[in-house]
Amino acid sequence: MLNRILRRLGWAVVILWGTTVITFLIVHAVPADPVRVYAGANADAETIERIRSEMGFDDPLVVQYGRYIGNLLQGDLGTSLVTGERVLDAILVRFPVTFSLALTAVFLWMLMSVPLGVLTAKYRGRAIDRTVLIVSLVAISLPVFWLARMLQYYLAYRTGLFPVGGLAGWTHIILPAVTLALVITGYYARLVHTNMVEVLNADYVRVARAKGIPEYVVLFKHGLRNAVIPVITILGLDMAALMGGVVFTENVFALPGLGVLALQSVFNLDVPMIMGVVLFSAAMVVCANIVVDFVYMWIDPRVEGT
């Protein structure tokens, strides 16, 4: 067990190190100049060169990377070129917003997709199954930013049921979370459905039914518990995809989270901030995967030995 944890952590470090290398190279390969972005379009060449040397951008890339890693090992992610904020502070201030948004969305979509999945597996091929399938397909195909704008327009701007944007309380999280949840629910409902159908055909379910156990106990105890295991794995992997959706929803609803920070730092070519956000997101995905791994072992003791 300990061995397994250590091995996972070792790989996590390798993955994060790889992330720094790739991000660093990509950010520096962009044919644009962060100093120029900082100094503004009106600045003259001399000003730009002076600021460049002050920021240390005139050193060779290897030296810059070495400096970055050196600082990183001391827990220093650097300072934003644009706002002068410490990168780690900027991330930590915004993380709770993104975290609540993501968690609310996960909660909502699990709340919707599990019953839908079970129901459609139970009534496979009937009208309700077909309807859910079609609605799911439509929902999966919707672009997040479009759906976000539509919900914002009809449920907030027109009717005033929700705040249109910004963050001044928990009600401001609902609409963005619903947006994310709607897009993903369809997918998870199908996932639960497929696993459920498979499980319901298993021998032990037939035995349980033969023993006369009530149908809902069969469905939820024998069926769902087994069907949900692969779903939890996918959920861990989906944390990465969720970050992508968060960028759009946060921007549409003006939530001060990591997604907005990521987008703005890219527009500003704020190198330390881009590196920091990417590294942090990578760390989150790695952590989510490790957590899922252990939750998985916990739910399904058969996994532990492998």
């Binding site: 100049d33 120029r36 002050e54 909660f107 910004g166 001044a168 401001h172 518990r225 527009f267």
Partner: protein, 559 residues
Amino acid sequence: MVACGSYLRKRIYRWRIYNVSTNPRCGILVPLWLAILFLSASCGGDGRLERLHPEENVLRIAVPSDPRSLDPAIAYDVVTWPLVRTLFHGLVDYDDDLNLVPWHARSWTISEDGRTITFKLRQDIRFSNGRPITSEDFAYSLQRILNPAVKSPGQGFYRNIAGARAFQDGSADRVSGLRTPDLETLEIELVQPDLPFLYCIAMPFAYAVPREEVERHGDEFGRYPVGSGPFTLARWQRGTGLRLEKNPGYYRADDIRLEAIDLMVGGDETLHMMMFERGELDIASVTSTGIPDADFIRVMNDPVLSKRVAHQPLNAIQYLSMNTELPPFDNVNVRRAVNHAIDRKRIVGLISDRGIPARGVLPPGMPGFNEALTGYDHDPEKARTLLEEAGFSEGFTTELMVTAQSGIDSKIGQAVQQDLAEVGITVEIRPVTGPTRIEATGRRGAVPFATFGWYQDYPDPSNFLDVLLNGNRITEVHSTNVAFYDNERVNALLNEASSSTDQGHRLALYQEAERLIVDDAPWVFLYYPQMYLLRQPWLKGLKLNPVWPIRYELMWVEP
């Protein structure tokens, strides 16, 4: 009691059956999940900007992203400057006719040779920390811009101060040209006479900052600014918003009618427009474009909303730059042909008439604007003749670099593509990000044809003609002369004008230079943009001018 107990037992029993007892590990997950959810949701959001319930006399506005810094030495954009102006103040300011008027300086004199400016300062103004402001604070603030460690984007405007270069290179520990004979006198000695230098002094870079506060906060001064303006920063929560409150110690506090300014950070112009229409914001958008593109026509046709629109021609120009060093644009007839081929009126129509078709470089609000300049009319026939003369009767193919995120750029791009196709020129549009475009176009010999916008730093022709079109300004990288236009006669006129101390003579020289430039056509002169602001009926005191389109300190909210 008994019944209740047995009911509970039953419930617990059932719960055990279905969850906990059969599945102890899964059972804890749900409450744990809910607990985390609740905790994270309650510690997450901390907006605390009262947007839905307006406070009395508090201005509510929104911007897409945080100001990068409220440090006057660092801030350099049209959204942040009006905020810097509410927190700090400077030696001189503009009146509504763009004349310089005293502010902290009671008066100023310029020496015979034009190289020394002497300011006499007021003695009755204090920083918001209570300390009186003296000439030494202004000398310190100016020297600070030139300090390389501060990384001020405005340092180029002050390099003409004597000793600035030595200070920047580290061979002097102070700028010798900044002198304070006594606490109410500031002398600035220049390397060469420079009339527009007074405009540089009016720029926010040169506003007074208190040394003790700067040293206390170091690089974070832009986060915790302390100045002498009509407002002070009460709080700033990054990514969420900031609040400025009236400075009771301001020397003209009685003239300031707003109690506070609430600035929401985040969201795009579409969201801001929705919030405005729901009554949550007092101005729809305070960015340079004003009313969002998508809403503009609806707003202008709306009988109610259109009455709340204020507009102001900006001292700015939208142009296409043709790289005069790269074929085929090294041929003057090709550049003239392109100018004749493009229909400016149609382009202005595409942006809902939010611009004035350009006939030259200088916008109408700029001193030295030449009414008599005819520019290039839309004449495809003449364009074809000119192309033939240049040896391009078959036309040619070129690439126009535009900014990908800009709606205006894509409209211009398509219009240019169609217009030039009429005369046989094939244009391929190359959308790139803003930073990439700036980087590529400033590099010598790299980009033949690109869209550009220029917004003035100060209202003097030199800020357009000298900065953008003087051949002596060409550099291998980061050139601001993106057409790489180099005409000796024009350079000589511009250089003479820069060092002349006679304003009338200078303007005549600039007009002559502009006439030659228009004739050489290094740009396609497109249009001069206008700003449109949409305000709520209760917002008063919105006075626009080309230098300071937005002045929050003049506004108030009428209940």
